[in-house]
């Protein structure tokens, strides 16, 4: 196709511009007129919230980097300098550190939404997988970011996590030395982590773009989990969902503000206010809260290599769930057997694992960690394939709009 884009803008200047570079038309198509299922609940806010969060992280991060010094001798002091001497430096840093926590809260709820309403099923498998890639990138970024203040937990967390690679047979130790840039976590490690921590968010931005492209190819899933049948089932994204997302963004900002202004260190570790000291190991080396469930899985296996494999598998299993789940019905609302497992037991096992991860592995915490780990894998590897075969789903509604028009209680399956 050659020639100018047929722009519909009335203003001649905008029309001239849009005919040559139709980004305004594109924006209008994808975020203005984009036909969106009319029955979203507030769980569908979390994609927009994650986008807002990413922007907040990049903006605060860019300004922090102007005042941060990635030199191992100065890094800790430069963070103190940001907190004490830079105008509103404390606000930038607390927004950035708590922003990481908010990001994971938002993304975990976003993923829970996907699991509950079967958003990963055909034709949205790739959309889901791109999301898992974003999660992995976020984890890498968050891990490296936590190393930058160069406190005790930064240093020892970096040591423990990079050391996981030493479990790889034969080449493990060589890989760890290569990752460190030396024979211990040190100045070269800090420099490269800073470089990558600045780079990865822009990689995430790119993958988020792919996530949105894939979403707009298939169209959004919805709480009923049935496909859009026609224009009666949808609303233009703007103003309906821009308005609804704005409500969610406001509530999200309130939670965020409570953390930043009134409990800025509640989710962090006191030990990270002690400068990194290679000669003194903290009593408990604990990752940030959002890694605790995975840390618990790692530590519930007595063999190091197996533990590492299990930990990475707990993420990689998410890549294949579109094919593990044999049920044709997407929304758990119509899956009476599956519903309690995904709504209660899966989150409960993750909260349990989170609690286990925060405690040193001894006494009752060892069997609890194993129960949580066992359920997590049982859920995805056994339950998902099995339930689809034996479950008798509730009857699905005709279309998104028909039950809405016939009777008021939209979400009651038995009214259909």
């Amino acid at each position: 196709m050659t020639g100018l884009h047929k722009s519909t803008y009335k203003n001649p200047l905008i029309n001239w511009f849009d005919s040559r570079l139709p980004i305004l038309s594109l924006l209008d198509k994808e975020y203005g007129a984009y036909p969106t299922p009319k029955n979203f609940n507030y769980f569908w806010n979390f994609g927009a919230l994650a986008t807002v969060n990413l922007v907040i992280m990049i903006i605060t991060g860019v300004f922090l980097a102007m005042n941060y010094d990635p030199n191992a001798d100065n890094a800790f002091a430069s963070v103190q300098h940001i907190m004490r001497d830079v105008n509103y430096g404390w606000l930038l840093r607390y927004a950035h550190s708590n922003g990481a926590s908010m990001f994971f809260i938002v993304v975990y709820i976003h993923m829970f939404r996907g699991l509950y309403y079967g958003s990963y099923k055909a034709p949205r498998e790739l959309l889901w997988q791109i999301g898992v890639v974003i999660l992995l990138l976020m984890m890498a970024t968050a891990f490296m970011g936590y190393v930058l203040p160069w406190g005790q937990m930064s240093f020892w967390g970096a040591k423990v996590i990079t050391n996981l690679f030493s479990a790889i047979p034969v080449v493990g130790n060589a890989i760890v030395t290569w990752l460190w840039g030396g024979f211990s976590v040190g100045a070269p490690t800090l420099n490269r982590f800073f470089s990558l921590h600045y780079l990865l968010p822009f990689v995430i931005t790119g993958v988020v773009f792919l996530h949105v492209v894939a979403l707009h190819m298939t169209g959004s899933n919805n709480p009923l989990g049935i496909e859009v049948k026609g224009p009666a089932d949808t609303l233009p994204f703007h103003p309906y969902y821009t308005a609804k997302d704005s409500v969610g963004i406001c509530v999200y900002l309130i939670v965020f503000a409570i953390l930043v202004f009134f409990m800025p260190n509640a989710l962090g570790h006191a030990d990270n206010y002690i400068p990194a000291n290679p000669l003194s190991t903290p009593a408990d080396i604990v990752p940030e809260w959002y890694f605790l469930p995975f840390y618990a899985i790692l530590r519930s296996v007595p063999n190091k290599l197996l533990g590492v494999i299990m930990m990475f598998s707990s993420i990689f299993v998410l890549f294949v769930i579109p094919w593990l789940d044999t049920s044709k019905v997407r929304s758990a609302r119509f899956r009476p057997l599956y519903r309690p497992f995904v709504a209660i037991l899966l989150p409960a096992s993750l909260f349990l694992l989170g609690d286990v991860g925060a405690h040193s592995p001894s006494g009752i915490w060892i069997p609890l960690g194993r129960i949580g780990t066992a359920y997590y894998f049982f859920h995805f590897l056994i339950l998902l394939p099995l339930l689809g075969k034996i479950e008798k789903p509730l009857p699905l509604p005709e279309s998104i709009s028909s039950p809405v028009l016939k009777s008021k209680p939209v979400y009651k399956a038995e009214t259909v």
Binding site: K38, N41, Y42, F43, A77, Q80, H81, M83, R84, W90, L91, Y94, I105, I109, F112, Y116, P223, L235, P239, Y240, A243, K244, S246, V247, C250, V251, L253, I254, A257, I258, V260, F261, F262, M263, P264, N265, A266, L267, A270, D271, Y273, I274, A283, W289, R333, A343, I344, P347, F351, G354, D355, A358, V404, L405, Y411
Partner: protein, 251 residues
């Protein structure tokens, strides 16, 4: 699903509370800086600074603070200048570069370290390194409550407890053996405002001072937080009304 959403929110809040109550074994104290509207008690801060200057700073550094920061605790510019001038700092080289000189401190100087380096600090303290106190309250689980508990936690060791050489028994300290000898006792300092210098009072005041040193931005932060949240609550209301209006014609 609404119920599941509420349950999820509840679980998240529960998890937050769980993390927050990390040190259940340390008794909660009443602090002027607790709560969303908390501020630092200026009189307590200034008494605490006196305790810090006469007791703590003999061994502990506080290297991320400047003397000018003391204006925050209510000292006048002249008082800050006098405090700064009472110390001697490295003054670089003399005019012809032939020798290193020293000069009186200025408000723009960092708090001076009590020891020239860590080796000297250890040597003077039975092998233990007194930690820097700039962020001490943030750097300990339990925060101000914990610092207060350590300062008031010196007792005789229970029968049968074997103390290491030169170590002291402390009920709050991990392992109950601490290298720091009991720093505060009744009448350790003389307060200029007539407050009775009991151990509790001294520990309370110096902990308030240390809490300020760790979080000097706290008052500004909480004040701004109250404004931000009030604004956001109003905005949420307005945005929700707009959303209801936009959606009014959808069935």
């Amino acid at each position: 699903m609404r119920i599941a959403g509420l349950a999820l929110a509840g679980a998240l809040l529960g998890a937050l509370g769980h993390i927050h109550a990390a040190r259940a074994d340390v008794a909660d104290q009443h602090w002027s800086f607790n709560g969303p509207f908390g501020t630092y008690d200026r009189a307590s801060l200034q008494r605490g600074f006196l305790v810090y200057k006469q007791v703590c700073s003999v061994c502990h550094s506080m290297k991320y603070l400047y003397y000018r920061n003391l204006e925050d605790i209510g000292l006048s510019e002249a008082q800050v200048k006098a405090v700064a001038a009472s110390v001697t700092v490295d003054g670089g080289l003399n005019d012809d570069g032939s020798k290193e000189i020293t000069r009186d401190g200025l408000p723009s100087d960092h708090f001076v370290d009590p020891f020239p380096n860590d080796v000297a600090a250890r040597s003077a303290n039975n092998g233990a390194l007194p930690p820097d106190q700039s962020s001490l309250v943030n750097a300990r689980d339990g925060g101000a409550d914990y610092v207060y508990a350590v300062l008031t936690g010196y007792t005789k060791p229970p029968k049968g407890f074997v103390l290491g050489d030169g170590m002291n028994y402390n009920a709050a300290f991990s392992g109950n053996q601490i290298a720091m000898p009991q720093p505060l006792t009744d009448g350790q300092v003389t307060y200029t405002d007539g407050t009775k210098p009991t151990l509790d009072q001294e520990a309370h005041d110096v902990t308030t001072f240390l809490a300020w040193a760790s979080n000097p931005e706290m008052e500004q932060r909480k004040r701004m937080g109250v404004h931000v949240i009030l604004f956001l609550v109003l905005l949420t209301g307005v945005v929700y009304i707009v959303k209801r209006k936009v959606w009014a014609d959808v069935h």
